[in-house]
């Protein structure tokens, strides 16, 4: 099942050289797809294009293989896409619980207040991520890592089939990183998760597919085993690098 398809997609910011040139990709559903590449290689831009926030300069992006993203009205985008940015400006002094409830807005009519079932969904998700204890805290009081967990909870509350997570593990401690990665792995049963990271080891551990973004606008998709080789990573990051595969600790990671 095709979740998202890119057809001859070219994109450049105004007056800049193209970040992507005639990219053709098919992302399959119910998978964890990891985006890997050096800083500035276009991972975040790729996410913004796929979720329709940015429009391609040329070409098309299709949901479910046949629905052009540009044809989806903005108020329905949330039925397809949920998103956690690398960093975000949070609503001013909203409580964690209310913020997670905002993720439910698209499920209701325009003027409707959240329903009892929305509250139940939000409560369950806070429990699942293990942050139910700070439901009443204000967003601005949280640490960077806590804010990332809360943003993840808000995205999950949307119950959208495509989850875009931009470096969600960047500020998490080891326990929370493993917990979130495990949750992502579980979610792949019925979600398509597009996940950007700087850690090839994480990519190897949780991905079904990997997309590599090289600084020269090249985009390659493949299986982790075939792409995450020392040769590829060294070329990608322009520094000798590789993945430890034999370490028994790594095998029990997730």
């Amino acid at each position: 099942m095709i979740a998202i398809a890119l057809q001859n997609v070219t994109f450049s910011y105004p007056d800049q050289k193209p970040i992507f040139e005639t990219v053709n990709l098919r992302l399959f559903g119910n998978q964890v797809i990891t985006l890997l590449g050096p800083n500035g290689s276009g991972k975040s831009t790729f996410i913004k294009l796929c979720m329709g926030f940015l429009a391609p300069t040329a070409g098309d992006i299709l949901f479910n293989g046949d629905l052009p993203v540009k044809k989806v009205p903005v108020h329905q985008i949330g039925n397809y896409v949920a998103y956690v940015p690398q960093s975000e400006s949070f609503p001013y002094h909203l409580s964690v619980f209310d913020y997670v409830l905002l993720g439910r807005t698209g499920k209701n009519r325009l003027i409707q207040m959240p329903t009892a079932s929305d509250t139940a969904v939000a409560e369950e998700i806070l429990r699942k991520i293990g942050i139910e204890t700070f439901a009443e805290r204000s967003l601005q009081e949280l640490s960077g890592g806590e804010q990332q967990l809360v943003a993840f909870a808000r995205a999950l509350a949307q119950q959208a089939p495509f989850l875009f997570l931009d470096e969600i593990a960047a500020e998490l401690d080891l326990k929370n990183t493993l917990q979130v990665l495990r949750l992502i792995r579980d979610l792949a049963a019925d979600h398509t998760i597009i996940f950007s990271t700087h850690d090839p080891q994480i990519a190897e551990a949780i991905s079904d597919s990997v997309i590599l973004f090289s600084p020269n606008s090249e985009v390659i998709i493949g299986q982790p085993k075939e792409l995450l080789t020392s040769q590829m990573l060294t070329k990608l990051y322009e520094i000798p690098s590789g993945i430890i595969r034999e370490n028994p600790i790594q095998i029990n990671w997730l």
């Binding site: 975000e88 949070f90 609503p91 209310d98």
Partner: protein
């Protein structure tokens, strides 16, 4: 459940504030300098046609205007602060107050003393200021709409302030300049029935729209990208809600002149009491604004034989409240 108990305690808080507003409004009707400074005896009114006329024709429209002005400033201030994630933003920020100031000064310069034209010019230029700010924000080629609005608000406000400076410079220093200065200080002395009746309906309609959509108004505070994936059309809905928030301010400013500080301090106090959720804090900010302006205006008209400009009192009480909030802030509403 803790969520349910939070909800019901906030609902109770809102009811309590509404009751407080009703009591203060009633007191304000009987408070003044007739027949002597202090409370007018309601039982003596039955045989006092002048007293009846003062309460019905002077104080009632003024109390209504004060309540509406406070609601408009408090509500719009909250919406502006939430949507810019900044506690120092006030409703006049997107060119609205400088627009009203410029428009009214222009009308005083061109048609000295004609209140209807001053009111009309204030409305046209304040809404014009907002529209201009929104248009400029749209044409700035950058995806950060929040920042674009900040830039355009500064540009338009500076433009109108420059215009106001020119008008003050060429105005007649004996007749027009004092009138401009007095208007800019703000006050509700001119709030008689004929002036407030035409604006009541559109003002109430704008309040109703904001209150009905108050859950959605929370989305204005989200990061643009997150708002987009939550189904919120940032470039269409945001200016629309800002526009509805400003209609009340523009229409009331056309009667009251520039009343500063209310739209800044009232949302901060309301957030301290109710948190950042527009579901409760938007109505709370409106009611608190009404209470604040009503108290200021009652003092303004009753304290001395001459009227104290409302803008001066609101700035005085506003800055003192701000000081208290800054020193004793508990829930970090700043």
């Amino acid at each position: 459940m803790s969520q349910d108990s939070t909800k019901s305690s906030k609902t109770k808080g809102l009811l309590l504030l509404t009751a407080l507003l009703a009591v203060i409004a009633l007191l304000a009707l009987f408070f003044g300098r007739y027949p002597s400074p202090g409370i007018t005896n309601p039982f003596a009114l039955a045989t006092d046609p002048l007293g009846q006329s003062i309460i019905f024709n002077l104080r009632t429209p003024r109390v209504i205007a004060a309540i509406l002005l406070g609601m408009a400033l408090g509500g719009a201030g909250f919406i502006f602060q939430q949507s810019f994630s900044n506690p120092l933003v006030e409703p006049g920020f997107l060119g609205v107050s400088p627009g009203a100031a410029f428009g009214s000064a222009l009308a005083i310069l061109l048609f000295s003393g004609q209140f209807f034209l001053i009111q009309t010019f204030a409305i046209i230029f304040s809404l014009g200021g907002l529209v201009l700010s929104l248009l400029i924000a749209r044409i700035i080629p950058d995806n950060n709409y929040k920042l674009n609005l900040v830039f355009s608000g500064i540009i338009v406000s500076a433009l109108f302030s420059a215009g106001l400076g020119i008008i003050k410079y060429i105005a007649d220093p004996l007749s027009q300049l004092p009138e401009i200065t007095f208007w800019l200080l703000g006050g509700l002395w001119s709030a008689a029935w004929p002036r407030i009746i035409p604006i009541i309906l559109p003002v109430m309609a704008s309040f109703l729209v904001l209150l009905i959509f108050r859950w959605r108004i929370n989305l204005m505070g989200l990061d643009d990208r997150v708002a987009f994936t939550s189904g919120f059309n940032v470039k269409k809905e945001k200016p629309l809600f800002l526009f509805f928030a400003v209609i009340g301010v523009a229409l009331l400013t056309s009667i009251a002149g520039i009343v500063n500080w209310v739209g800044l301090i009232v949302p901060i106090i309301s957030r301290t009491l109710f948190g950042g959720n527009a579901r409760f804090t938007l109505p709370a900010s409106m009611i608190n604004g009404a209470i604040f302006v009503l108290i200021c205006d009652t003092i303004a008209r009753a304290l001395f034989a001459g009227e104290v400009p409302l803008g001066v009192l609101s700035a005085l009480l506003g800055s003192l409240s701000f000081l208290i909030v800054v020193i004793f802030r508990r829930r970090k509403a700043l």
